[in-house]
């Protein structure tokens, strides 16, 4: 589904990703872990197409197409979704309107019929249950005055409505209490299916208790330095990142 080859990218001339290789197949959940500043979020932003980041080398093939050649909204149309680490506020635009606009933008681009306001309400009520959010959220401006947990649940709500094929969760667990964590994980698990793939970017192992990854990758200084199965995450939890830094340093020498 997704193949990243030797990806180099950075911002304003400073390279942050120094050659990433990663293959993700349909039906897989990949966790990308690593200490702060290792380039995890940059990778997520580059995949979504944020224009502040420029790709200097390498390629990303998504379902046989050159992902880097697509505009951010085209990527969304092709099923790429990013749950933001810091969801953005849009004052005066209520969540229901925003979500319906997004859904219909995707549907129109895919030559599907638009969803009218009534059908949308039926659809969204169902999805709200999944993230345990009240209907009154729909009337609030997008992310404005939301608590940290509400913002993250709102991201998962959008994911539930837009039904992406490749979902990238950027530190969705940061700042969440135990309950919110459970709700978010439950949402992700419910939406999982064999034709979809998920990349979970996280600093901590705790989310991975609820979302069980098939693969765990550790990023350090803009490179993936180690890959393994879920036991790698547990090992990291136990020992921290230092041992991997040391080991990597030794290897490099």
């Amino acid at each position: 589904m997704l193949e990243i080859r030797n990806l180099h990218a950075g911002v304003e001339g400073a390279e942050i990703l120094h050659g990433i290789d990663l293959a993700v197949n349909a039906g897989e959940i990949h966790a990308i872990m690593g200490p702060n500043g290792s380039g995890k979020s940059t990778l997520a932003q580059v995949l979504a197409g944020h224009e502040a980041y420029s790709v200097t080398e390498g390629e990303v093939i998504y379902e046989g197409q050159d992902l880097l050649d697509m505009d951010p909204d085209e990527r969304a149309v092709h099923g790429v979704f990013l749950a933001f680490q810091y969801p953005v506020e849009i004052p005066g635009v209520n969540s229901a309107y925003f979500l319906r606009t997004a859904l219909n933008a995707l549907r129109t681009a895919r030559d599907e019929e638009e969803v009218d306001a009534i059908d949308f309400l039926t659809l969204i009520r169902d999805k709200l249950k999944l993230v345990e959010m009240d209907e009154k959220f729909l009337k609030r401006s997008v992310n404005e005055g939301f608590s940290g947990g509400e913002k993250k649940r709102h991201e998962i709500l959008q994911m539930a409505v837009l039904e992406p094929r490749l979902a990238i969760l950027d530190e969705t667990d940061s700042g969440l209490d135990i309950d919110a964590l459970r709700i978010v994980a439950n949402g992700v698990n419910t939406l999982y299916s064999a034709d979809k793939a998920t990349i979970v970017v996280t600093h901590y192992q705790r989310l991975l208790n609820n979302i069980v990854p098939d693969f765990v990758h550790v990023m350090l200084d803009g490179r993936i330095v180690q890959s393994g199965d879920k036991t790698l995450a547990l090992e990291l939890e136990e020992k921290g990142y230092d041992w991997i830094k040391e080991e990597h340093a030794t290897h490099s020498v």
Partner: protein, 489 residues
């Protein structure tokens, strides 16, 4: 930069959808302004002597005044610049031929003209069937057709062109004309008083709630023509009316002057709601062409408990210079001003309001949203005056500016003059920039950049758009999107 600007220009101006010219026979006065021209206009309209005298008085006063732009720099307060206007090159009267007597019904209206209004999205024929909106359409200088006249007459409401009102209701016109905006008020109001050619007249009798929204569409068609319409709305005791106006003009390389005057009078317990969607041709990115929209709008809350509410969405015109104001004379009277002003391309807007508190317990609310893009310059200028006798006066002003891009400007000039210690005046102001992050967030959800800008801007203007009647709100939302197309990315 210049090729990029060129691209933006194409994008931005290709979307002025009202830029055609209607090919119909025009009857015009020769260009230029003198007493003979004024006599010509007055005669064409078969006006009574008192009105001719009033026009001449205004003209003679105008001659003593100085064009605001020719004043000393220190006395030029508006943040707008434009080349000298040659008042002698303007045509002060242009009318579709054969419209001199005014059509008795839609059947008598030139089909070309009706087609024009259909292009504008106001099919008069359909308007008859669609309940709710009565339309008076002013084409260049003459009012073309007024629908729904009969239905309104049953309620006792008078809604007609200004010329008709002069013929049929001269006493009302004489009583109120110039009573809110005197002919000496300012340079452009004086000019209008001298040469105004038509406009709308609306009278709601005592205790009547006007059964439908009243609406006027203005269009400037002829070249080198100024449009000087005059609107007068009178709400008697306990009356209510909601009035809408919309404006468009063809794309022309030369500038055209639009100097209108609107006067509103609300007596005891009366309410007037006046909404404008202004989309005159804005000119291009180099500032070529476009309408100079120099308009004086003022409402007098003469009676106790009366209320006047202005709502405006200003997206067009090369230059907008207008300050719809309220004189709060009656005790407990209420004035409101809700405004969205967009300046893109090389547009300039200096707009705001004046709330003059005279009566006791008078209240006013001002919500202004300014949006600037490309090379647009947007100024909010608002005055709140609380006079000595205005005990317990209240004002709340909120003034928000949004910038799109880094070459536009937003300016805010609040003037507050309080002479009564019991008054409470609040002013809040914010400036924000449409963030790349907001657009990226929308893009990531599949929403295109154009749609994202439109959505973010509409969200920003929400409080004002909510004040517009339903049909207008939808139109205004689309217009905001169209006006800002090509301003990002």
């Amino acid at each position: 930069m210049s090729s990029q600007a060129r691209e933006l220009e194409t994008l931005a101006t290709s979307d002025y959808k009202f830029g055609w010219v209607t090919d119909i026979e025009q009857e015009s006065a020769p260009p230029g302004l003198n007493e003979d021209i004024i006599r010509f206009i007055s005669e064409k309209k078969n006006e009574p002597d008192w009105l001719l005298e009033w026009r001449l008085k205004a003209y003679r006063h105008w001659l003593t005044m100085t064009d605001p732009l020719k004043r000393k720099k220190s006395e030029q307060w508006a943040m707008v610049t434009y080349p000298d206007i040659d008042y002698q090159s303007i045509v002060y009267y242009a009318a579709p031929k054969n419209a001199g007597d005014g059509p008795a019904s839609l059947d008598e209206v030139d089909p070309e003209l009706l087609a024009t209004y259909e292009k504008l999205g106001i099919p008069l024929e359909e308007q008859k069937m669609l309940a709710g909106v009565a339309v008076d359409a002013v084409f260049d200088s003459v009012s073309v057709a007024t629908t729904f006249k009969e239905t309104l007459a049953e309620a006792g409401v008078i809604f007609c062109s200004f010329s008709e009102a002069v013929q049929d209701h001269p006493d009302l016109v004489r009583q109120y004309l110039g009573s809110v905006v005197p002919h000496t008020d300012n340079y452009f109001a004086a000019l209008n008083s001298a040469v105004f050619s038509d406009g709308s007249f609306c009278y709601i009798p005592k205790g009547v709630r006007c059964p439908m929204e009243l609406s006027t569409y203005f269009r400037i068609n002829a070249a080198n023509t100024g449009q000087f319409e005059r609107t007068l709305v009178i709400a008697e005791e306990g009356a209510y009316v909601s009035y809408l106006e919309g404006c468009t003009a063809p794309m022309r390389d030369e500038n055209q002057l639009h100097a209108a005057v609107v006067e509103l009078v609300a007596l005891d317990n009366a309410q007037i709601k006046y909404s404008t969607v202004q989309n005159w041709y804005p000119g291009d990115i180099d500032g070529k062409g476009g309408i100079y929209n120099f308009v004086t709008k003022r409402g007098a809350c003469r009676g106790a408990n009366s209320k006047i509410s202005w709502t405006q969405v200003e997206t067009g015109s090369a230059i907008t210079w207008k300050y719809p104001s309220c004189i709060l004379q009656g005790d407990n009277s209420v004035g409101e001003f809700y405004s969205v002003a967009v300046t893109s391309l090389k547009q300039q807007a200096d707009t705001g309001t004046k709330m003059i508190h005279i009566g006791k317990n008078t209240r006013s609310t001002v919500i202004s949203k300014g949006i600037s893009a490309l090379l647009g310059q947007n100024t909010y200028r608002g005055a709140v005056q609380v006079l000595k006798g205005a005990h317990n006066a209240r004002n709340f002003t909120q003034c928000d500016s949004m910038l799109i891009g880094d070459q536009c400007g937003a300016h805010t000039f609040p003037y507050i003059d309080v002479r009564n210690p019991s008054a409470q005046v609040e002013h809040e102001a914010t400036t924000s920039k449409i963030g790349e992050d907001q657009i990226f967030y929308c893009n990531q959800r599949g929403i295109s950049t154009e749609d994202a800008v439109s959505m973010i801007v509409n969200g920003f203007c929400k409080e004002v758009l909510a004040e517009l009647p339903m049909e207008f709100a939808v139109e205004a939302q689309k217009l905001l999107g169209i006006s800002l197309e090509g301003s990002v990315g």
